[in-house]
Symmetry: C2
Subunit: 402 residues, 2 copies
């Protein structure tokens, strides 16, 4: 945890152990704004949305401002039926009472095991610990780090990002925390991200902006249709900077800052993917349509055979070309070019005559590299970040109950 992370004014943080995780690990986080904040969220599209997702979606659809966010790890409150919804309401009610807020302004997230009843009493005890923690007045950076730790499941490191940018109305700050996800298809490990800013922005504009940002960041590290029951990205704008952003130039600055932060958190999630030893960018260009570029990108990024080759540091372009071929996109094999970073491997559908295995292998040994596919059939492109598939991935997921 760097001391240089920009912490957004007007927000306080706390993280405690309440008893959901073993070994006294932090398992309950609070993000608290000094005042009600404009809220925008993107939720999972899974047909079995977890209880906090059902509850939060209704809350945001009702146009509620949000002042407090309570997040527990260790239990997903998913597949828990009507009782799950009642439990979210109870937790929100008690948190609201403890913080002297309206219940409607308390947002709840959960991540962890599916299908177990939420241990409500344990969490309610945790809320008392959180309010006590707020009074302790730890250094801000430490409190933020504790909150980021408390939302982790199989993550190895907390994910925190902060930036300050100048707008026409003055400086604004954004601070974000996230928890990661298994990086493999299908991605069912929950992804949670919270981005907080002291800017003021109109709710409708903020919602549309967050959707666009999520599509270009969090949705380019995993497959939309493959979301977990609990995936949530929440953004809060509390306006304490006094900068009310409404003209196009200022809104563009905010959107770019949100995108930078979202990509930063998304990158951290891939880098800390379950068992990941590599971060690989898959970049498809020259496609006839955006959908074609995306399909090929995802076919490669989701291929277990490609990902095990990355782990094995094997410049196995045959597996990549096979994935291109089964992505369900009409293409001309004789036009396809493939490079690993700057090393051309395939030219016009055949092994490049200049290609030497040693050059490809050198790229694959790097911790981060790009696989570039040019279809030479149009102008459209798509990029996705993925990780490799390692022994540790199997160990984590054969043993961990998520």
């Amino acid at each position: 945890m760097s001391d240089n992370i920009k912490i957004c004014p007007g927000f306080r943080f706390a993280g405690v152990h309440c008893g959901l995780k073993a070994d006294l690990a932090l398992d309950l986080a609070l993000l608290l704004s000094d005042c009600p904040a404009t809220a925008a969220a993107v939720f999972t599209e899974n047909r079995f949305p977890a209880a906090p997702v059902v509850y939060g979606r209704r809350q945001l659809a009702a146009g509620e401002k949000i002042q407090a966010v309570l997040i527990n790890s260790g239990n997903a409150n998913a597949c828990t039926g009507h009782q799950g919804i009642v439990d979210v309401a109870t937790v929100a009610e008690v948190t609201a009472a403890a913080l002297e807020l309206p219940r409607a302004q308390v947002f709840i997230s959960s991540t962890g095991v599916i299908g177990e009843p939420l241990p409500v009493t344990t969490i309610l005890n945790g809320v008392e610990l959180l309010t006590a923690e707020l009074d302790e007045k730890r250094p801000e950076g430490e409190s933020l780090a504790r909150a980021a730790r408390a939302i982790m499941t199989t993550d190895k490191t907390p994910k925190i990002s902060g930036i300050t940018v100048e707008t026409g109305q003055g400086a604004i700050t954004l601070t974000g925390i996230a928890k990661g996800a298994g990086m493999i298809h299908p991605n069912m490990a929950t992804m949670l991200a919270y981005i907080l800013t002291d800017a003021a922005v109109e709710a409708g504009i903020f919602k549309a902006m967050l959707k666009r940002v999520a599509d270009k960041s969090f949705n380019r590290i995993s497959v939309d249709g493959d979301m977990s029951t609990n995936d949530t990205v929440l953004a809060l704008a509390n306006g304490v900077s006094g900068c009310r952003l409404s003209d196009n130039a200022d809104l563009e600055i905010l959107e770019n800052a949100l995108l930078e932060m979202a990509r930063d958190l998304a990158y951290m999630i891939v880098k800390d993917g379950e068992g990941a030893t590599k971060v690989v960018e898959i970049a498809v260009s020259g496609a006839a349509t955006p959908a074609a570029a995306e399909k090929i990108c995802r076919a490669i990024a989701n291929s277990a055979l490609v990902k095990t080759a990355f782990f094995g540091q094997d410049a196995n372009w045959g597996r990549i070309i096979a994935a291109v071929g089964y992505a369900g996109v009409e293409l001309k094999p004789e036009l396809v070019n493939i490079s690993f970073d700057q090393v051309r491997v395939v030219s016009n559908g055949l092994r490049d005559p200049q290609y030497r295995e040693a050059a490809g292998a050198a790229v694959l040994r790097k911790p981060e590299f790009s696989v570039k596919i040019d279809l030479q059939s149009g102008e459209d492109e798509f990029t996705i970040l993925t990780s490799d598939l390692s022994h540790e991935y199997v160990s984590i997921n054969a043993d961990y109950r998520s």
Copy 2:
């Protein structure tokens, strides 16, 4: 290799080492009919079909009968451009000359590394060895087993099946060999299968029959769109039994026998899947449409998280329900039932009140079991066979160049 395998009359077999694989492993197989046989085939739908697939597809489209099949392992002759096609023709030409057949009646398959030129000279030397081997007159079962071994790549065991059935015209025999595939999504390891019979049947009928049979067998262990560059199922009917099958009852007997053999070989492929320790049947019922049943089936069967849980013998129904939820099918979560074999785990979208973890865990410890999902929303169903995702899978695919 059981001595009880039924060997189809009118076919001879040979397998030799010609130098494509290390350690003197068998790497070239010949299947030879006593007379030209009616042929039907199903090929990969990959957009980068390998040279022998391009060649074989043209050959069968031209209505050619087939008398000899030459199959090499160790090199896929895929992504080899025009030269690859020329190489197939050369190999077919030399094989035809050695066997004194028309070139058009020699069918060629390849499996192995993608993107390397086919070592034609090595294979041509192998053809001489094969003809010598035919003259050696080994026991038929041994010759068949050698052919089945020669087509293996990461397979641990040869896959051979044989049955005899009674038709209205007399008894017919079917003998099949196959090589397996990585059992994980996306399935790019090549699947090859050859089914030989001494029945006589009209070519058009035989082709339609094989397509239906493949859809209910080989295409229910891996995803159609995810085929490798080389996948091929070839069936030959040489008619030496004298049983010409043309009435509906006889054709139904043949189709059922083909299906039984195809399912038997498909089961062996899953059981010997790369690193597999479990064979799991995923059975979806009560779907509103056949497509909905299939989508959910494949979402579960292709989930790395579900498959690692199978490997970990973890009755992790949360991952299964999450996969049901992201399959892209409209459904009513509150109607979904899930069972592991006879153990009801989820009733109406919630953990069954009677379910005990120990009962689920006992099923998961079995080497073979079923996961049953009833959507209670219609009459349609789909079933697929899959395997688990183990450490050995990662080892095989991080190290093996396929």
